[in-house]
Structure formats: structure tokens, C-alpha cells
């Protein structure tokens, strides 16, 4: 059997009952590998993310959310309300034929309308049922409500972010929720592989809090090793048009520093004991940043990035979304793809979040609410409002 790289999941269908960011992002990633994803939204206002900003038009409509448009590419949309018995029955029928179900209701809700894991596995024993919630299916906080900032706080990620004299700071945007969607995707892929090789489905339980506790990466271990990680000062230096981190205090060869001194027109620094070794540069980091700042302030940030990286430093520059769209690296790898939106014309999307070559053609723009495109996915007449 031969296959192209974007149809790894083309034999699978996904019923996406989830709302917001995390669950739908998981389903988007599955769609990116070729799965057929049917998105089910409540009639009326639809998925809650449809009302989330930013909006692409002057007014907020059901079809104008950039957040929704990004997260729901390559899906078909139908509207059904699981709270109504007849529509719950239609959902049950859909769930009989799907391979993966993704949901984000409060734990217990779908059980209460006859759509819990054990309800659906009677007719579909191999079903992979993915629950994506703020705190998971069990435990004392399982009924608690969440959000991006609540996950970052509860998971011990947020405490160490920000400056020492200011409050803890969240990572911007919806980073925790996207990461939760990534975890759900990876766990689902594991469950798919297990089903392929061992022949059974299962219930996948994703807690945004735990995703963040995994992502805090060292606060918990340092706390046990007798040290408390805390918020700290930034090492960014102002460039002519933004910010850079020169990256000279760690991971560079000694010869690199000599070249940097020549580059910035300060050869006298080669002999300066504050900077003669990596340890010294780290110990005198603020002095080092001040010295670089005199030079960097006159240069564009991306030029500094390329110039210093060419000397094998670990330099960074703070890219804005505007900079990202013209990054030559992203252009060369065709990272952004322009998709025609039915209302807003050409819209740039990050094309893949999976490896190069895996997500070539599968991306299609959001479908307007309730507009499923394949007849066999449309539920019983009269239930599906068109």
C-alpha cells in the first residue's frame, strides 16, 4: 500500500463536539493528517470561540472570529444540541460510525444525556473518546471551571514568569489552551496506534492543569532540590526597531567573543577581564548587555540576529506577527499558507504545526456554521437545520 504523507489518518473520522480552543485544536491537528472531522456545534451562537476576538470584520458575527477560523480549518460543521433528546439521538447515531470523539463538556454532562463513554461504546466498542477539560475527569477540582490564565496559574507555570517587582505574568494569547490541544492530539495518536496494533479503543482524559504542570519543566524539581525559582530581569537589548537577545553569555566558543568585539568596534574589550570567559560574561551580564546596547541601538533587530548568528552565537530577535510573515526562513519553508475565506478574502494561516511535508493539501478554510458538505455526515432530516 502506498500513501502520501498527508493522509496518515485518512481512514478515520472524528466527531468534534468540543468548544473553545483546546479540544477543537486537537481536532484540527487530526484533520491536518487527513482525518475527516465533523464539527458539531450548538444551534444559535455555535462554538463559544465564534464570539472571541480578534474579529476580521468591523463587526462581530458568527463567521468573523480569527480565533475560530484558525482553529477550525479542514472541518465540516453541523449544528446539533445534545441537550435535546432527539438531537442527542442523532449524535449517538453519528458516534456509532466515528473512530474518534473529542469533547470538552464539564465532566458528567455527556453521561447525563446518554452520550458518555460507556453509552457510546455499547454500539462502537473500539471508539476513542477524548475528553479535554480544565482539570480532568476525576479529582476534587474536576467540576471547577477554567481558562487559559487559570491553567497557567494552577499548573505552576505562571509564578516564575514576569519581572521581580511585578505580579506573575501569563504567557500571551491562549498558549496554555493550545498546548492542551497538542497534548490531546498526542494522546489521541497514541490511542490510535494502540487500536491499530492491539484492537481496542479507550477513554483519553486531558487536564489543562496537568498539561501546564508538565510544561513548568523545572519549578517543581528545583523546589525539591532546595531552590525557589523566581521571576527575574530580562536580558533583552533595544535595537533600532525592537528588541534582541545577543546570546553571548552562554553556549558560544571563545573565538566568537573576539569576533564580536571587532564587529561592534570595541577591540579593547578583548582584554577586558569582565568578559574574557563565558563564566565572566555570565557573571557580568548586565555590563555585557550595556556594551552591546550601544551598538545594537543603531541596527535593525533582524540584521543583528543574522549577523551574530553567523558568528555561531545563540542570538534572538523579538519578531512581531508582522515580522513573522516576512521572515525569509518561514517563506523558504512555506510556513504560511493563504486560504480564501468566504467573507474576508485571502487570510494567512500557519500552515502546519506538524513536520514539514505532512500537511500539504489538507488545509481548507472553516466551513460556515451548519454547512456540512458530505451527505453521509448529515444527520436525520429535520434535525439538521439548513
Amino acid at each position: 500500500m502506498t500513501m502520501t504523507d498527508d493522509n496518515i489518518l485518512s481512514d478515520l473520522s472524528v466527531l468534534d463536539l468540543s468548544q473553545g480552543v483546546a479540544g477543537p485544536f486537537c481536532a484540527k491537528l487530526l484533520a491536518g493528517l487527513g482525518a475527516e472531522v465533523i464539527k458539531v456545534e450548538p444551534p444559535g451562537a455555535g462554538d463559544s470561540s465564534r464570539s472571541s476576538g480578534p474579529h476580521l470584520g468591523d463587526t462581530s458575527t458568527l463567521e468573523s472570529s480569527a480565533l475560530f477560523s484558525y482553529i477550525n480549518t479542514s472541518k465540516k460543521s453541523v449544528t446539533l444540541d445534545p441537550a435535546l433528546p432527539q438531537q442527542a439521538q442523532a449524535l449517538k447515531t453519528l458516534a456509532k460510525d466515528c473512530d474518534i470523539l473529542v469533547e470538552s463538556f464539564p465532566p458528567g454532562h455527556l453521561e447525563s444525556v446518554g452520550l458518555g463513554y460507556s453509552d457510546l461504546t455499547e454500539a462502537n466498542p473500539d471508539l476513542i473518546y477524548v475528553s479535554v477539560t480544565p482539570f480532568g475527569q476525576t479529582g476534587p477540582y474536576s467540576s471547577y471551571k477554567g481558562s487559559d490564565i487559570v491553567a497557567q496559574a494552577a499548573g505552576a507555570l505562571m509564578y516564575t514568569i514576569g519581572l521581580p517587582d511585578k505580579p506573575p505574568l501569563k504567557v500571551g494569547g491562549e498558549a496554555a489552551l493550545y498546548t492542551t490541544g497538542v497534548s490531546a492530539f498526542s494522546a489521541t495518536m497514541m490511542a490510535v496506534y494502540v487500536r491499530d496494533t492491539q484492537g481496542f479503543g479507550q477513554h483519553v482524559d486531558i487536564s489543562a492543569m496537568e498539561v501546564m504542570t508538565v510544561s513548568q519543566i523545572h519549578s517543581s524539581i528545583y523546589a525539591q532540590f532546595g531552590r525557589t525559582p523566581a521571576r527575574r530581569e530580562t536580558n533583552l537589548v533595544r535595537a533600532k526597531d525592537g528588541w534582541v537577545s545577543p546570546g553571548l553569555e552562554t553556549g558560544v566558543q571563545e573565538s566568537t567573543w573576539l569576533k564580536v568585539c571587532e564587529l561592534i568596534g570595541k577591540p579593547e574589550l578583548i582584554e577586558d577581564p569582565r568578559f574574557t570567559s563565558q563564566e565572566a560574561r555570565r557573571a557580568n551580564q548586565q555590563d555585557l548587555l550595556d556594551v552591546i546596547a550601544d551598538w545594537a541601538g543603531t541596527k535593525p533587530k533582524e540584521e543583528i540576529y543574522h549577523t551574530l548568528q553567523a558568528l555561531r552565537t545563540i542570538t534572538g530577535y523579538v519578531a512581531t506577527v508582522e515580522d513573522l510573515l516576512v521572515s525569509q526562513q518561514f517563506v523558504a519553508r512555506e510556513f504560511f499558507k493563504s486560504l480564501p475565506d468566504p467573507e474576508f478574502g485571502e487570510v494567512a494561516h500557519p500552515r502546519r504545526s506538524l513536520p514539514n511535508g505532512w500537511q500539504h493539501l489538507a488545509v481548507t478554510p472553516r466551513t460556515p456554521i451548519g454547512r456540512a458538505q458530505r451527505r453521509d455526515t448529515v444527520p436525520t432530516p429535520g434535525v439538521h437545520p439548513q
Partner: protein, 409 residues
């Protein structure tokens, strides 16, 4: 086979170990995983060891190594020596997956790149995690988690009201890439089931990180708006932020989206009249009067325990959580009840609680953590048990500096 270092790669192989894979961590005596710290640490390096004590073999006890390299066995091989390369090639033949995150072309320069190893083992899945991806003008650029946050745009939307971009200090892209890598490997394994062949998985950390701000990219491409920092505020929700509580640097995070949540908050703080206050009547009014809201809430949280504030607000249906410190996370009752932490008894670093997996599968339970291996701890197990070398042959390798259990530098 795990050649990866630092965070993203080791995290992905840690997850593979949790889900039952045998993970062989390959290092060399002259270039250990950076997570192991220095062979001979100086007085300024002690903060990474248990209670500041490096012990007899410091490279086995650093926090990063102990915490990220669990569930693996360790073998050392000098990949710059011909015999080391030879043994590496033998090992590749019996592995399913190879993970590395060196700078762009390092493996090619060693003569061990994908083109070479895929011929030795056509079923091999080769996960190449790199800063920028395996292609493009920046393919050989180096990065750290913090520089990825910059070049991927994440720092541009992270920061306080003054607009200064900030990084997380937590190498945030690394765990995200580690978690995604696991799913990418599972997809590649499924692909192998169908096609019978392995493949190269080219994962760019920068690209993965940029996906975290997709909505801002769509928005810019249509409206020209450039997203910036918003402190702890949100485009649609108010109040939304952290509020100081009793204790040293203790805070609670609160976010209010729906009208029900707003009314719940007014009840919880004992000011039900606020629910009808015209300044806060609907989401738009609340977004316009956030400073006033923040003052009211701060005045209420001040002096209260941050966990108690969560329980009270959540009992009224309001999303809230304490801003948990690492020291609190390890004792959190919810994580405890869900069995999130594994207690690991590390022979040299002591007993500690270990992060596990960001998922629970009802039928594929995770393995109990095994301690991060000492450098070369499993040389015999791998060289004899897997590659069939005799003790004498291994002794010869040791004599030539190709393998051992003590770093050279």
C-alpha cells in the same frame, strides 16, 4: 535511540518511556547531555544539585538531568571515533525511532545523518528536532527556548502594559515541542504500519511555537493589526488577571467570561449590588472599566488564602486558581488525587516527586518512572545485551576512550 539534549528532545523520549518504549540514551564522554552540567562544577554551579551538594558524580544528579531523563537507559559512545560510529550503526539497525536535536547538520557531518541511517534501517523513524527546521536559510542557526519565544513571536505578545516583550524563563517552547513530538512519532509509527517504511520527521521548534499565536497572524493578514502585550488581560474577558493574597508573593488568577460568571463573582465577594452596577453591566462595560474592577477584587482578595479564594469562587462557578509555586504543586491535593506525581527514588539524587504525562489513557496506563540513569550505567546491558559484545571487547572500548562511565572533560 535518544541522542537529544536539553529539553525538547529529552521530554519527548521521556514520554515514550512512560508509554512503555525502551529508550536508549546515547552520549559521549566528552560531550554529555548539557542537562548533566559540568564534570567538575565550580562554586557558582551548585544551585542545580540536590541541596546544593554535587556529590561524587555531579553529572548524575543535576535537577535537569534527574527530571528529564527518567525512563531511559544510558550508554556512552564516542561518535567521532570510527569504532564508535560502527557500533552506533549497529544500534540503529535494531531501533524503531531515533531522536536528535543537534544544530542543523551535525549528524550529517558525523556521517550519521538520515540518508545514511535510513539505508541501514529503512523502517527507522528519524525525528529531527531543530530550531528552524532542516531546510531554509536559517537551518543551521542555534537557539534556546528563550530565543525561540522571541523569533516565533510569542515574546511579542507576552509582557506587561508597558509593551516590553518578555520571555517565560521556562523555555516554554521546549515542553510544547516535546509533547507534540510524541504525537508526531505516533503518527509516523502509524504511517509505518501502513507503508512498511520509516521516514524523516523534520520538526521546527520555531514553527511549532508560532502556531501558539495563530489568531493574531490571521488578524494581521486581514486587518493589519499587530498584536502586542496585554499584561494579564484578555481581548474578551474582564475581570481577567492575578490578585494578591495573604502570604509571601501569593496570588490568585481570576477570569470572568460569561454573565453567569460575573454574577457568581459579585455573590462570592459579598457585593451582589455590583451585578446591577451600570459600569459592569455587560462584557463591554467591564472591559472598559477594568481598573475599577481590579481595585474592587484586589481589595477583596487581600489578606485571604489563595487556595481558599479559588474554592470559594469556584463554588459560585467562577474560573479561578491560585498562582501555584513549584513547592505548592508537589503537594496539590488535586494532582495528588489523580496520581499525577510519581515518587522516584534516585540512587544518587535522593527521593523526589516527578512530573509524569500530560494525559491519562484508560487502558494504556503509563509505566512507573524509573530513575534517570547514571552516565554509562547501562553500557554492558546495551553493548553486550543488544550488540553482543564480549566483556573483553568492551574493555578494549574503554581502553580506547570510546565508552566508560566518567566524563573526560
Amino acid at each position: 535511540m535518544d541522542l537529544s539534549q536539553v529539553a525538547a528532545g529529552p521530554y519527548s523520549t521521556m514520554f515514550l518511556g512512560f508509554m512503555g518504549a525502551e529508550v536508549i540514551k546515547v552520549e559521549s564522554l566528552s560531550r554529555m547531555d548539557i542537562n548533566r552540567g559540568k564534570a567538575r562544577p565550580g562554586p557558582d554551579d551548585l544551585r542545580v544539585y540536590p541541596n546544593g551538594d554535587p556529590g561524587e558524580r555531579p553529572w548524575n544528579t543535576t535537577a535537569h538531568h534527574v527530571h528529564r531523563n527518567i525512563n531511559k537507559i544510558s550508554v556512552t559512545l564516542d561518535l567521532s571515533a570510527d569504532r564508535g560510529k560502527e557500533l552506533f550503526r549497529e544500534l540503529v539497525k535494531v531501533c524503531d525511532v531515533l531522536v536528535e536535536n543537534y544544530r542543523g547538520s551535525v549528524m550529517d557531518r558525523l556521517g550519521l545523518g538520515y540518508d545514511v541511517v535510513s539505508k541501514l534501517n529503512p523502517q527507522l523513524i528519524y525525528l529531527k528536532i531543530s530550531s528552524q527546521g532542516a531546510t531554509g536559510p536559517e537551518a543551521n542557526y542555534g537557539s534556546l527556548g528563550s530565543t525561540l519565544e522571541q523569533t516565533a513571536g510569542l515574546a511579542s505578545i507576552t509582557g506587561y502594559e508597558d509593551g516590553l516583550p518578555l520571555m517565560t524563563n521556562l523555555v516554554y517552547p521546549d515542553p510544547v515541542v516535546g509533547i507534540l513530538s510524541f504525537g508526531a512519532l505516533m503518527a509516523a509509527l502509524r504511517r509505518r504500519l501502513k507503508t512498511g517504511t520509516g521516514c524523516l520527521v523534520d520538526l521546527s521548534q520555531r514553527e511549532v511555537t508560532t502556531m501558539l499565536l495563530g489568531e493574531s497572524i490571521l488578524d494581521f493578514s486581514v486587518t493589519g493589526r499587530v498584536a502586542g502585550t496585554m499584561a494579564n488581560r484578555h481581548r474578551d474577558m474582564a475581570p481577567h488577571g492575578v490578585y494578591q493574597c495573604s502570604g509571601d508573593d501569593m496570588w490568585v488568577a481570576i477570569s470572568v467570561g460569561s454573565q453567569n460568571e460575573w454574577e457568581g463573582l459579585c455573590q462570592a465577594i459579598g457585593q451582589p449590588e455590583l451585578a446591577t452596577d451600570t459600569r459592569f453591566a455587560d462584557p463591554e462595560s467591564r472591559l472598559g472599566n477594568q481598573d475599577a474592577l481590579d481595585q474592587i477584587i484586589s481589595a477583596w482578595t487581600e489578606g485571604q488564602d489563595h487556595y481558599e479564594v479559588m474554592h470559594l469562587l469556584q463554588s459560585r462557578g467562577v474560573p479561578a486558581a491560585p498562582v501555584v509555586k513549584g513547592s505548592e504543586a508537589i503537594d496539590d491535593p488535586h494532582l495528588e488525587a489523580r496520581g499525577f506525581w510519581d515518587v522516584v527514588e534516585h540512587p544518587e539524587a535522593g527521593t523526589y516527586k516527578q512530573v509524569t504525562t500530560p494525559w491519562l489513557l484508560s487502558k494504556s496506563s503509563r509505566q512507573q518512572s524509573t530513575p534517570a540513569p547514571g552516565l554509562g550505567e547501562h553500557n554492558y546491558q546495551v553493548l553486550h545485551g543488544i550488540l553482543g559484545l564480549s566483556q573483553g571487547e568492551i574493555d578494549t572500548l574503554v581502553a580506547h576512550g570510546i565508552t566508560d562511565d566518567t566524563p573526560t572533560e
